[in-house]
Symmetry: C2
């Protein structure tokens, strides 16, 4: 397969230092894929807030990286001086944090930028800005490294000849590189294994058909697109041997918020005795949130369900449910693949242990 | 609520005797709903074959009624004389039977027309044509009566305050009147009960959002449209208390072919301990087919999954699975609501008994 590293068209979030006057954040507009490869250049925090809100950039890790660069863009925009720059950091972070409520990587990245700014208290704006941009680059680079490590940690779950089901897009387009769920796919393919990835189209916004199918095809992965309601019968026909999705937020007990429809797949996988894995970096864990019932779930506009890519598909007045995410309870998750290894079985103790949060680290099988 | 009987815009199949020279079959073009209310006038068997094939008319019972009228239209078209008319019946029936493979009502109605033609062996074409048109009318009227009886038999399954989930369209648009699954809904509403119907949009062809949501709104039923992948979380939130769908073919053991996605709902309902009912007239039972594995499943063009209402939603080259139906095993079906009562539990003996196929009829609780 083509090494993803070299496929810069799949880079959803990129800092372009050559754009005047200060450099700019360049996002691949994912709402226009697969029809058009269009970039948007963000030089104000509002355009970044809007890009996150409207899913021009999406995927929990990619949102975090975009927001980190957004702090730099937001400060450039307000043209702070050496006296005021630090008081501006909080409002920019607060503003960007309001773009979407569920994916925790957004808050994680913004908090990290906030802490870095605090450390830089007595620096001049020029020095601090250099350090904050370096911090955003570090978040980006670490995300890419975490994705590679997730791929290495979980690639063995995809055997030669396997059928893998994934949902939404947890690929290169959702991260700095490689993806989370798809990191396992790409790494297994790099090892020469042949398998088929079944891709749920993922209504309402079709991240599966528009993004994942497109991304996998570019990397010559054998792909079969299905409608969301076909997953069960593919499982019954034994064409799917493992389900792997990403995550937007994982609570302390392992309950996992991810794109709407993930819970359905977890229940169906359990009913068909198929292992169900989550793949996510440690930045997706929210140890402050005890269980899934406490994760805020974003409700999105009803038009997303009443229309498809701008075309009306239902009576305009019909009532709609449109939560962007659902929560899969830990008991339905076979394992969580992180950059530190696989958490299995999924419980508080094993999560803390694998993430290195316990005083005494207990090795996990 | 408005009595469905008077809402002729919801009549999917209608014989118009005033259309010259012989009268014609008038179909509501369901591919253009909910945007446009357009009728198509069929005066040749090819147009009827095409209307069934392309889902301008759809729904197992409605297809059967349309095909019955199609036999008359097909004979009018070939202008048979008193010597040849009977030899023409077989080819017309064979031709129409090739339009779609799964819904058994099509074959049931055509076989009934064939048998009637045999009984009319020595009649003149004029007499036989009158009798065959009367037979098609009878199939239509009996279908309407069966739907009403299904509604009466199952309406108690929808309690006041209930949440009902349905899939695809098993309503007035799928039958001569009232529908099968939706007959329960309409009859419960007529009894003054208030409840919410959750409607799966039913990809790929969106019969839920385009047809069922539209039909229910016209009858002022409290309706919430959801994407197919949201049903599970609605169940987990206890917003759905019962699932009711139609059927395209029910095998002798109760295994049921219905719109793709039905099996998924049955598995999810079982996992959430929610009753799952099929509603179907006796013409949907195929006692010659022993179990669901023997039901032929229609595979439809991949473009239906790669596009939505003409708009590309996926890479044009991506491989697709697009079976129009799946099979739900009898063990996942709480009961089958027929015009003769509810089959529960679902097994060969109870099916034969409720349908009156046993020598000794055993009453079912």
């Amino acid at each position: 397969m083509t090494a993803l590293k070299t496929d810069s068209t799949l880079r959803p979030v990129r800092w372009d230092a050559d754009i005047r006057p200060h450099g700019a954040l360049v996002l691949l507009d994912q709402t226009r894929l697969p029809d058009e490869l269009v970039s948007i250049t963000c030089q104000c925090s509002k355009s970044i807030w809007n890009a996150i809100r409207t899913l021009q950039v999406r995927g929990a890790p990619a949102i975090g990286v975009a927001a980190a660069y957004g702090v730099v863009v937001g400060l450039d925009e307000s043209r702070p001086d050496d006296q005021s720059w630090q008081t501006n950091v909080g409002p920019v972070c607060d503003y960007l944090a309001g773009s979407r409520p569920t994916a925790v990587n957004l808050f994680w990245a913004l908090n990290r930028m906030r802490r870095r700014a605090e450390q830089l208290g007595h620096r001049t704006w020029t020095d601090a800005r250099t350090a904050l941009l370096a911090e955003a680059h570090a978040i980006r680079d670490e995300d890419a490294a975490m994705c590679r490590a997730i791929g290495r940690a979980g690639q063995h779950l995809i055997a030669d000849g396997a059928g893998v089901l994934t949902h939404c897009n947890a690929g290169a387009l959702a991260t700095s590189e490689y993806g989370t769920a798809l990191a396992l796919v790409y790494t297994a393919a790099e090892k020469g294994r042949e398998f088929t990835v079944f891709v749920d189209e993922t209504r309402p916004l079709l991240q599966g058909s528009r993004l994942t199918a497109w991304e996998l095809e570019r990397h010559k992965i054998n792909t079969t697109l299905i409608c969301d309601n076909m997953a069960a019968v593919m499982m019954a026909q034994k064409r799917i041997g493992v389900v792997i999705t990403g995550a937007d937020r994982i609570a302390a007990n392992g309950d996992t918020a991810n794109k709407i429809g993930t819970y359905s797949l977890a229940v169906l996988a359990a009913a068909h005795e198929i292992p169900f894995y989550i793949a996510a970096p440690s930045s997706t864990f929210d140890m402050q949130t005890l269980d899934g019932s406490l994760i805020p779930i974003e409700q999105r506009p009803p038009e997303e369900v009443r229309t498809i890519m701008g075309k009306a598909t239902a009576p305009p007045s019909v009532q709609v449910y449109n939560a962007a995410f659902d929560v899969t309870p830990a008991r339905l998750i076979t394992g969580i693949v992180t950059e530190h290894g696989i958490i299995h079985p999924v419980n508080v103790r094993n999560i803390r242990s694998v993430l290195g949060l316990n005083e005494r680290i207990t090795p996990i099988a």
